[in-house]
Symmetry: C2
Subunit: 716 residues, 2 copies
């Protein structure tokens, strides 16, 4: 009776709440009441919360557990000082909790950030213990425990031990001080610089909660295309205010360092990293930053790339530049993340080779607190790239992975593209540098080369849009990045399933088909945009939509025609020994595979080889037919996704259902546009008929070439 | 008992709802349950809703009434086909409702958009009738009825008759196609052009609801600094999708017309309004627009101002330009709103005189479907300006008022500045052109000159920020604009009180002090920024903060020094017969007042006169002392506002309370900055001591002059 009345008044209350209640703002931290009948062990194992301690971070863990347990349980879980009955939740460190100190948890295994979740007895009461060596570890464990409930996992006989396999797990925000987000498709920057430091938007706290919930422990607030103004006192005061919010959640603040800042802010005539005045300026600046932000994480630097200043302007190396900054950060415990995405002002013979050529000779020359941050592939966040040849080639230099979470090249915010499989594919790639099993994951987590510093960066897809990421499903990419940063060996399907259950529903009729959608979604994008190893066919500048015909830009390597090289004979970029030789940057074993057209995986074929249109594929079809069928299949998958989603009506709230449905309609339209435009263009070159039964493009090639999108979002 | 349990479960539920529930998104359409004990007549008079009809707009009225009555009543108000008991709400037109058709309501009085709300008997049941001649009128009446409940007004013996006093009540969105809002301080544009037309954000519906709730019946979607791209098919399709949402709520869509569009889009060599090819191009374009948007409202045009193209480029007049567009819009029922804010490329003797000089000679030359849109003052939306001399000077040309709701010059989003008193002061200004009582309001509403077309425009303060307007209290300015557009004779205090009760609370301990804050807030801004008739002292470009010292810009009339003209002898812009002669643009009676320093109101003194520092003010103090005391008083008022607000803790929800408190802290800091910088600067010129007991500026003048804000929001 009481329960029914509760439902009645919840319904009445819901009527007076605007539709906003289910708009995606909650992310995966959605603590709606579980069906008690279907999940009885929740009520049995979660009866009271043992309050946990005086530090801000432990208080945050307590708030989160209270919020989560109250919400998920649908009733108040009392906060008590010690277990009074079976079903207590005790959390803390050996220092904060005598109960935890008294248990044998073997916390040495989990390091400074890991945690143990164990079902045990405390004071003779059946208790769930969430324990760690640090407050942040406790917070991570608390979020893990809530995840168990959110996904309706068993809650009895728990014995979970988890520790992060990388140390630096950071989001890179390409956010400008004017609020524009470069390659952002989720509205303006969430940092409201103008109103900082006095106004601390509650959103900052929710951002930090979301980061902590997946173990992200750093946030680079500013764009890699850096602005020296972010290092001025007025902006340091603002950044310090953000750091104050994030510190509680174990998230350290980093900034991007514009290499020429000593000239722009300090009035120096040079930014030469070996110039004593320059070094003095940076030392004073870094000391100043630490006065504002005592736990400042350090700098992320994009130098000598796409017009950014850098040490090469003074005939110094990347190592000279990085080490100068590292030296002044080291006394404070700060680090330098130096990007390997270099893009010099001269046109290279092969864009893919430049980073390797510039960085490998510097292996071993970087200071101990420098990481070199390497994109997953050698070009630029394409729907599919082979792993970057730097992985495995710099055993003496910690390489951290840079993934792009924001979908610059994978359909902006409106395409449902779950990136978990992309992350997993990159991390599972076998460099073979130390024999079979020398995966990128083992390089990133330090195992293969014994790196002391390790890390993973994700270019954030976060903005001021109500749903944070521009779409409901793009939240999954933020989530998955965090999970992979914690564990580069993670499973993308398991992550997707957790996310779906936490974000939408535990109803198997929902989870199963929507999980299938997610798992197939990235391959669909590859198919309708850049199948078989094609890359960088996007239209110029904004990268919105197809532009495979673009060949008139002033730099050869800005042109899609540079990358696909299609001609009457065939298509693809020959990177084997007879071509650019880029395959030689890989380990001999991997190079042997990629250099040989016959051994190259078909999904990377045109990345590594220029292949005749009539080349026989493993299917028995010609390359041309196969290409057309891939494009066509990609669209078909999206159409099927629309059908699958439509069947979910009623299983998710109306507002999020409608948004996803509308975005899938956009995706289908754009997938077809991609397919039709690419087929129309490549057919004008291959001069071959379409395979039987395949629809011709809806419009002539000229139509697709005429389309212009000057206000597409996210432009740099 | 039931009531207590309800409260308990509401509280429990609230715990599981994110803080978002009270973040300002609901605006003044906040339908939280009234305390039944304190407002018993609600339950007695609102028992059932009589469903009202088949049109989309009547369905919207029904949805709104259901939502509002259910929310405010805290229980389901059943929808029935006809009154079954006392306490029915019947709404509709004589066509949609036989019950209304049968009543004697004298609807002829209310015109096409007005409404009657009357307590009467229907089928022998005590009924409240909401009736109008049009569906939109019914919707307006429905919102009025909900407002009665929201403000806890009496609900018995109602006999409300309301009709709008202007016909065109439009918001002007200075929104660019890339999402940037010129002079916007509430985030990006709410129009997500990139995802239109397929994605219709629910926010569009809530925007239209809010507009309709105050009688706004038009929305100019695009910036007056216009972009021809908005007239291309791709964008017309997007605008049509928005029009489809807004139509239901009685809101027509308008666009800005870039005068050179025939050249940019049509490839013509000229945009000369008398050129036949140009006229043909515009006719075809307008016909095309009406195919997309059958009820398209028309064009808003900024021409020959601040670099925008216009008819003067071809030695044609504003009337030539406006009439060309009017001619092709007329067959479709469209109008032209032609802005009088002209700002030629040559520096004038007095900026304030230009609009009058250009437009008065054209009186009577505009087509019937043209309105000339005039800002409230002759400069540019300053904290205080005298009324624009065009009002009263163009009896044969409908002049519509342009107010700026967004606070470009009144503190951006963080200053609590209620603009109701500014609107009221402008509208109550007496032009004296037809003797005493020839108020601006009577010109705008058509009474004085018998205008057939009438209108009021407000430059919107709306953006993608969760709270719509950048701050909680800026919502009041959107609200007040709508109420004044409906009734230019409205009372700003009554409007503020309605808004406060609807938006926050009916608790008298809250309403009384916060209403006092609101009512004093605009004068406080005048005092700490530009007291005694000073104007345009803001820093260059972004207009953020003080810049009274700026005198080096390439155009004299861009410089604050041009406007305040302070020197060793005194301060102010002499616009009397011995000065620029701008006072002669007013009616002889008004001119006599403004030309004479002794008769000029002190709050406009330095607008009209250059006055010696030692001039005796009515207070007996010198002008210099008075100026300093005004600056000081402005800051004191803000400090008092902070104290008043702090006392409201617990009477409003925590989230909105905290945001307002933080913004008031920013406002106090910036008010002090304004005061200190202006006093420091003017003292460097007046060379006079501060009055006894007044604090010196905190920093030397050079400090204030050194501050730079390259990323202040809203820059053009």
């Amino acid at each position: 009776m009481k329960h029914r009345l509760l439902l009645v008044c919840l319904a009445a209350f819901a009527l007076s709440i605007p539709a906003a209640a289910e708009d995606g703002y909650d992310l995966w931290l959605r603590y709606r009441a579980a069906d008690a009948a279907a999940y009885p062990e929740l009520a049995a194992t979660v009866r009271e919360l043992v309050g946990g301690g005086g530090t801000p971070t432990l208080a945050a863990a307590e708030r989160e557990l209270s919020r989560g347990l109250n919400g998920l349980g649908g009733a108040d879980v009392p906060l008590v000082a010690a277990p009074t009955r079976d079903g207590a939740i005790v959390f803390g460190t050996p220092r904060s909790s005598a109960a935890i100190a008294a248990l044998t948890l073997d916390l040495g295994r989990v390091g400074p950030e890991g945690y143990v979740i164990r079902s045990t007895a405390v004071n003779g009461r059946a208790t769930t213990v969430i324990a760690a060596n640090s407050d942040a570890g406790v917070l991570y464990g608390a979020f893990h425990f809530l995840r168990l409930i959110q996904t309706r996992a068993p809650l009895r006989a728990l014995d979970i031990v988890s520790r992060p396999r990388t140390k630096i797990r950071v989001l890179n925000h390409w956010d400008n001080l004017d609020g524009h987000v470069e390659r952002g498709y989720a509205g303006q920057s969430i940092w409201d610089w103008h109103k900082l430091p006095l106004w601390l938007d509650p959103r900052y706290t929710d951002y930090a909660r979301a980061c902590a919930s997946v173990g992200i422990n750093g946030s680079v607030l500013t764009n890699v295309n850096a602005n020296a103004t972010s290092l001025t006192p007025a902006y340091l005061e603002k950044a310090a205010a953000l750091a104050g919010v994030m510190r509680t959640y174990g998230v350290r603040v980093y900034l991007t360092a514009r290499f020429s800042a000593p000239m722009e802010l300090g009035g120096l005539k040079t930014a030469d990293p070996l110039d004593p005045a320059v070094r003095t300026w940076w030392k004073a600046k870094v000391d100043e930053i630490y006065r504002y932000i005592p736990d400042f994480g350090g700098f992320l630097v994009k130098a000598n790339s796409e017009g950014q200043p850098g040490p090469q302007d003074y005939k110094r190396t990347h190592a000279d530049g990085a080490n100068m900054l590292a030296e002044v950060l080291a006394p404070h415990g700060g680090i330098v993340m130096w990007r390997a995405f270099v893009y010099s002002n001269e046109t290279p013979t092969d864009r893919a080779k430049q980073a390797y050529d510039e960085f490998v000779p510097l292996d071993g020359k970087f200071a101990d607190n420098v990481l070199v941050q390497v994109k997953n592939g050698a070009i630029d966040f394409q729907p599919r790239e082979p792993f970057h040849p730097l992985f495995g080639a710099m055993p003496k230099t910690p390489l951290m992975m840079e993934f792009q979470i924001t979908k610059e090249y994978l359909g902006f915010a409106t395409h449902l593209t779950y990136l978990g499989p992309l992350f997993e594919e990159a991390l599972e790639s076998d460099t073979l540098v130390k024999g079979k099993g020398s995966t990128v994951a083992k390089i990133v987590d330090g195992e293969l080369h014994g790196y002391k510093l390790t890390g993973m960066a994700g270019v954030a897809n976060i903005g001021a849009d109500r749903n944070w990421s521009g779409s409901q499903f793009d939240q999954a990419n933020w989530y998955a990045f965090g999970r992979f940063a914690w564990d580069p060996g993670a499973d993308s399907r398991a992550i997707a399933q957790d996310w779906l259950r936490m974000t939408f529903s535990n109803d198997a009729r929902f989870v199963q088909p929507v999980l299938a959608m997610m798992m197939g979604s990235r391959e669909a994008v590859v198919d309708y945009m850049t199948p078989l190893g094609l890359h960088h066919l996007m239209d110029t500048g904004h990268h919105y939509g197809p532009g495979p015909w673009v060949g008139n830009l002033s730099r050869a390597d800005w042109n899609p025609t540079y990358y696909h090289r299609s001609d009457a004979n065939g298509i693809g970029f020959e990177r084997g020994p007879k071509g650019s030789g880029a395959t030689s940057q890989y380990s001999p074993q991997a190079a042997a595979r990629f250099s040989d057209l016959k051994k190259t995986p078909e999904n990377l074929l045109l990345w590594f080889h220029h292949v005749p249109w009539d080349h026989r594929m493993s299917s028995g079809r010609t390359l041309w037919d196969e290409l057309v069928l891939h494009y066509t299949h990609g669209v078909e998958v999206v159409s099927q996704m629309r059908v699958s989603w439509a069947a979910q009506q009623g299983r998710v709230d109306a507002e999020r259902f409608a948004q996803v449905a509308a975005f899938l309609a956009i995706q289908e339209q754009e997938a077809r546009w991609w397919r039709d435009a690419c087929i129309a263009y490549f057919q004008s070159i291959s001069r071959r008929p379409l395979p039987a039964g395949v629809a011709a493009p809806a419009q002539p090639l000229e139509y697709y070439q005429s389309l212009k999108f000057p206000y597409a979002p996210g432009h740099g």
